[in-house]
Symmetry: C2
Subunit: 344 residues, 2 copies
C-alpha cells in the first residue's frame, strides 16, 4: 500500500513515528505500507521505493525542514508531482483546518477521490463543508473517505457510530466532545477555584490555548456534534442550526452546589429528535451520578448514542494528544486494508 502524507505538523510527525514503530506489527497483519510522499506547504519529499523511516528520523532530530531531506532515494516533491506520478493508493490529509473554504484540503481530497485514491483526513473543514458530496465521490470511484479522527481523535465516535451501531438507527446523540472544557470544569470542582483560575491552569499546562474561545465558547463541541449528526443521523445541518452556549459564565458557587448534590456540570453537545425535527444544542448540563457520561474525567471525551434496536451505547476515552490522534489515522488505514466500505 503506497501512501502520501500531506501536512506534517504534530499529528503528521506522530503518524510517521507510528508507522516506524509499528512496521513489523503491520507486516504481520499483511499490511506492507510504503510511505512515498511527505508534503508540506513549503515543499516536500518523494521516494518511490518508500521513505527510509530510520534515516529520516535521524535527520529530523537535527533539522525541522523536511523539504531539505535528500538522502536515500528522496527527491524534492509537491502536490503537482504527486498528481503527475499518480502512484499512491491512499492520501492522508493532515493540513490545517479552514472551516470556511476547507482549502487547500478540499482540492487535495477531491483530486484523490476522483482519481481512485482512498482518503483519510484529520481535517474538520472538508467534512463540515462537503461530507455527503465527498462520500458520494468516494463511492463513485470505489474508494473510501475516512474521517474517523475528525470528531474526537482516538475516541471512536465516527467508527463506533457507523460500525458498532450498524443496522440500527441512531435516534439521539449526547456527548462530552471537548477535553479542554471538561478539564476546566473538573479543576473548578476539585480545587474549588473560579472559572478564570481554572482556565489559567489549563493554559499554563498547555491544555487550553492562549485564545481559548473555540473551546470555552462551545464551538469546538458544536463542530464535532455537527459532524456526528450529519454523518450518523444522515442530516445536512449547519453550524447555524446549533444553539451554542459555552462555559464562560459558570460560577464556582453553582459548581459547588452541584457537587453537594452529588452532581456535576458538563458541557454537553446534543442532537435529539423532537417531533421528527433534529434539535441541536451545546450547553452546560447538570448530570446526576447515574448518567453514563458522569465519569468522563479530565481531558477525556465521551459520547452516548441511543438507537432503535441496539439499545444505548456509551463510548468513553480518547486521550488527547498527537499520538492517539495519529493512532486513529492508522486505525482508519487498517480498516481500509481489512476491506471495510465506509462509502457506498
Amino acid at each position: 500500500m503506497k501512501i502520501a502524507i500531506i501536512g506534517f505538523g504534530g499529528v503528521g510527525k506522530a503518524f510517521f513515528q507510528l508507522l516506524r514503530k509499528k512496521k513489523k506489527e503491520l507486516m504481520l497483519e499483511g499490511l506492507d505500507i510504503k510511505l512515498i510522499y511527505i508534503l508540506k506547504s513549503n515543499g516536500g519529499i518523494y521516494d518511490p521505493e518508500g521513505i527510509d523511516y530510520e534515516d529520516l528520523t535521524v535527520f529530523l532530530e537535527n533539522q525541522s525542514d523536511i523539504s531539505q531531506y535528500r538522502r536515500g532515494g528522496s527527491k524534492k516533491a509537491n502536490f503537482q508531482l504527486l498528481i503527475e506520478n499518480h502512484d499512491i493508493d491512499v492520501l492522508i490529509e493532515m493540513t490545517p483546518t479552514n472551516k470556511k473554504t476547507a482549502e487547500p484540503a478540499m482540492t487535495y481530497i477531491k483530486w484523490a477521490l476522483a482519481n481512485g485514491k482512498h482518503v483519510i483526513t484529520a481535517n474538520k473543514g472538508p467534512v463540515l463543508l462537503a461530507y455527503k458530496q465527498l462520500n458520494l465521490l468516494a463511492a463513485q470511484n470505489n474508494v473510501q473517505f475516512c474521517i474517523g479522527c475528525t470528531a474526537g481523535g482516538a475516541l471512536p465516535t465516527i467508527n463506533g457510530g457507523l460500525i458498532d451501531m450498524a443496522g440500527s438507527q441512531i435516534t439521539s446523540i449526547e456527548g462530552i466532545l471537548n477535553g479542554t472544557t471538561n478539564f476546566i470544569l473538573q479543576e473548578m470542582e476539585e480545587k474549588n477555584i473560579s472559572y478564570e483560575l481554572a482556565l489559567k491552569t489549563a493554559q499554563h499546562l498547555g491544555i487550553a490555548e492562549t485564545d481559548p474561545t473555540l473551546d470555552v465558547e462551545g464551538w469546538d463541541t458544536a463542530t464535532k456534534l455537527l459532524i456526528l449528526t450529519n454523518v450518523l443521523m444522515n442530516q445536512e445541518k449547519e453550524l447555524e442550526d446549533i444553539k451554542v452556549e459555552g462555559i464562560t459564565r459558570i460560577t464556582l458557587e453553582s459548581v459547588k452546589k452541584a457537587i453537594e448534590e452529588g452532581k456535576k456540570y458538563k458541557l454537553i453537545g446534543k442532537a435529539t429528535n423532537k417531533n421528527n425535527k433534529i434539535e441541536l444544542t451545546v450547553q452546560l448540563e447538570i448530570l446526576d451520578n447515574h448518567h453514563p457520561l458522569f465519569n468522563v474525567n479530565g481531558k477525556n471525551k465521551g459520547v452516548r448514542y441511543a438507537s432503535d434496536t441496539l439499545g444505548d451505547l456509551t463510548i468513553i476515552g480518547g486521550a488527547s494528544g498527537v499520538i492517539p490522534a495519529a493512532a486513529s489515522i492508522l486505525r482508519d488505514l487498517i480498516i481500509i486494508h481489512r476491506g471495510y466500505h465506509f462509502s457506498r
Copy 2:
C-alpha cells in the same frame, strides 16, 4: 445474500422479526437478504425463493412448530438438505450452547466455513473451544467467522476491540460482563436488602434463572472474559486459567459501607499483564466514583480496554434481551456485507 438460520429460539425469532422490520432499510443499503432456511433440531423449512416474512409471521402467531409451515414455496428441510443444496452465502448459527463439545454447532460451523460460507454465531461453545482453529479455517476459505454477540450481546465488546482498537495492542481488559449480577448488586445498594432477597427479586423479574449458579458464581463473566482475552489479546487461555469468585458471599453490611464511602461493589472480569504473563480474575471489586465502569447500571454491561497507542476505551451499554442480541447478529451481517475482514 442467501442466508440460513439454524436454531430458532428467542434470539432466532427476534432476528427473523428484525429481518422483516428492517427489510426496506437494508435494501437501501444495497443488502438484499433472502432467508432460505430456518432449521431447528426437530426439522425446519426451506424456500429457495426466500421465506415470506409476513406469511410466516402470521403462521407463528397461531403455531409454534415451524417445521409444519408449508405455505408459499416452503418445503421440509434439515441440515443434510442444506449441505446437498449448497446454496447459502451465510450461516447464522444460534443453537443452544454446549461448553464441553460445542456440538452440534461445531459440525455446522466447520462444514459452512470449509465450504466457503460466512458464519455468524451467537454460540459461546465453538468460540471457547476452537476460536483460533475456526478463524483460520475461515481465512483459508476467504470467508468471515463472526462472533460479535458472544461476549456481551449488543455491547460491541468484540467488534469494539477488533475494529475500534485496530492498530493498537490491547494491554488489559476490565469488564462488567454479566447483567444479572450487576442488577443484584444494585438492588442491594438501592433497596438496602440482603443478597438472598435481591436474588429473589431478580428471579421474580425473570432476570436471574431458577438455578442462578452460572451467573452468581461468576462463570458467565469468566466465559466472556476468556473469549475477549483469547480474541483480543491473542491468547490461548482456558477456563481453568481464571481465578473465579462470584458474588454469593457478599453481605449487605459491606455493600452499605462501600456506598457510605461513595463506592460500589462490582463483579469485575479482568485480564492484566503481570511481568509478561496474562493474569485472569473474576471477583468483586470496589470501584470509586471516578472509575469509568462505576455507572454501569442495572442490567447493562461495560468493558474497558487499555492500549499502547489509542489510550483507554470504555464501552458501556448492551441492554439485555432478545432484540438487542438479534440486532448484534444483524450488525455482523452488515459488517460482512460492507466487506470487512474479521478473519485473515
